[in-house]
């Protein structure tokens, strides 16, 4: 990420190459992944509740959750009754409550008395955690009470690109063209068969034949890119050259 006059500009990267027609077709037009998805790893922490009593609390990102005999989620009060598992479940419910919980952080009881917190891929870090007493213990992956470890949550944004047919025009009776799509199947740019003549560079967004509705759309973390035939297998052309320009955004940016 370059910074010029205080403004951050992402690097533009280029994924390019030549696919065979068989690769473009894949298995029943499943196509071929040209830019692999990267597994999303999220930032996590655990809160362990052991013999919690009334007035014990945990404060996460400045929001305090306090134990009392009776849970009142709207007031960020979780129960201290019913044993450790019940306490953990009540705390998790408070944290997850949409109106008064923690935005961008999801809590789940992963074992009896342990609540696991998971940050959304774009949630700013660190997430600070403090607890009132030894009955509540907060531990993050980084080994301290704060979530600081940045997860892997890269997001791809396609900003430009082109394709061209090699060895002949793109043919195929029911084939309507070529897609550059996410590995999840969302079309970013559609190249219409009529313009995929041999050797002609067809750019994303070219009127009529290079429909690129999702250009400049940040894809979800963990999503890659693939190139695939649409409608039916490509015939006649032997290869397809492709060139995709993209930027990489980062979630979980440390603040």
């Amino acid at each position: 990420m370059a910074v010029i006059a205080g403004i951050q500009y992402p690097k533009i990267r280029c994924c390019y190459g030549r696919l065979t027609t068989a690769q473009v077709n894949g298995t029943t037009q499943g196509g071929t992944v040209v830019l692999p998805a990267q597994a999303v790893t999220t930032s996590k922490a655990t809160i362990t509740c052991t013999t919690v009593v009334n007035a014990d609390y945990v404060t996460i990102d400045g929001i305090r959750f306090t134990a009392a005999t009776t849970a009142i989620q709207a007031s960020r009060i979780f129960t201290s009754a019913g044993g450790d598992a019940a306490v953990a479940a009540s705390l998790a419910a408070c944290i997850n409550r949409k109106s008064t919980g923690l935005p961008g952080v999801t809590a789940a009881v992963t074992s009896g008395s342990t609540v696991t917190l998971t940050c959304a891929p774009t949630h700013p870090l660190p997430v600070t955690m403090t607890a009132s007493a030894g009955t509540i213990v907060c531990v993050a992956a980084s080994g301290n009470p704060n979530i600081t470890t940045v997860g892997n949550s890269r997001q791809i944004t396609v900003v430009d690109g082109w394709v061209r047919a090699i060895g002949g025009a793109v043919g195929g009776g029911s084939c309507t063209g070529i897609n550059v799509a996410t590995t999840g199947g969302v079309a970013i740019a559609v190249f219409i068969k009529a313009a995929l003549t041999e050797g002609a560079v067809l750019r994303m967004g070219t009127a009529t034949n290079g429909v690129a509705a999702n250009l400049n759309l940040a894809n979800a973390p963990g999503v890659g890119l693939k190139i695939q035939a649409v409608g039916a297998d490509v015939t006649t052309a032997t290869h397809l050259d492709y060139c995709i320009y993209y930027t990489v955004g980062k979630g979980n940016t440390a603040t």
Partner: protein, 134 residues
């Protein structure tokens, strides 16, 4: 290859006079050669000032012609993108060029009607071993 290890795209832009490009022995170095480095042109365009009437112009490393721009496509102020049918033959787009070799724009012929040529070239750099650079 991870998404952040694909090469960074670099861009060079020049506004050149006809004399810098056209004529026997003429030619302009758009990207200087660098030891152990190879270039791959990924895209680009040119724009003429004046209607070019005489000769084609070539971009390449002297051995590989990345793109030949036909003078009929070099009309006043029109952007001519690489690989556009008929007037911009870019067969070797995405071909990795020779190591240590600059990317040049040149024409051995003389041009008498056009006056300037703007060039915008996108390229990536790789080491001799083929490793992309960030």
């Amino acid at each position: 290859m991870a998404i952040e290890t694909f090469p960074t795209v670099r861009t060079v832009y020049r506004n050149l006079t006809v004399a810098q490009v056209y004529g026997a022995g003429a030619g302009y170095v758009l990207v200087p050669g660098a030891k152990g480095m190879r270039y791959t042109v990924t895209d680009g365009w040119v724009r003429a000032t004046g209607n070019f009437g005489n000769a084609h112009v070539t971009i390449g490393d002297g051995t590989t012609t990345v793109v030949t721009l036909i003078h009929e496509g070099l009309t006043n102020l029109d952007i001519l993108r690489f690989g556009v049918a008929t007037n911009s033959v870019a067969t070797e787009l995405l071909t990795t060029l020779l190591v240590n070799t600059p990317i040049r724009i040149y024409s051995d012929a003389l041009e008498t009607t056009g006056t300037r040529l703007e060039v915008c070239l996108d390229y990536v750099v790789s080491h001799t071993g083929g490793t992309a650079t960030g």
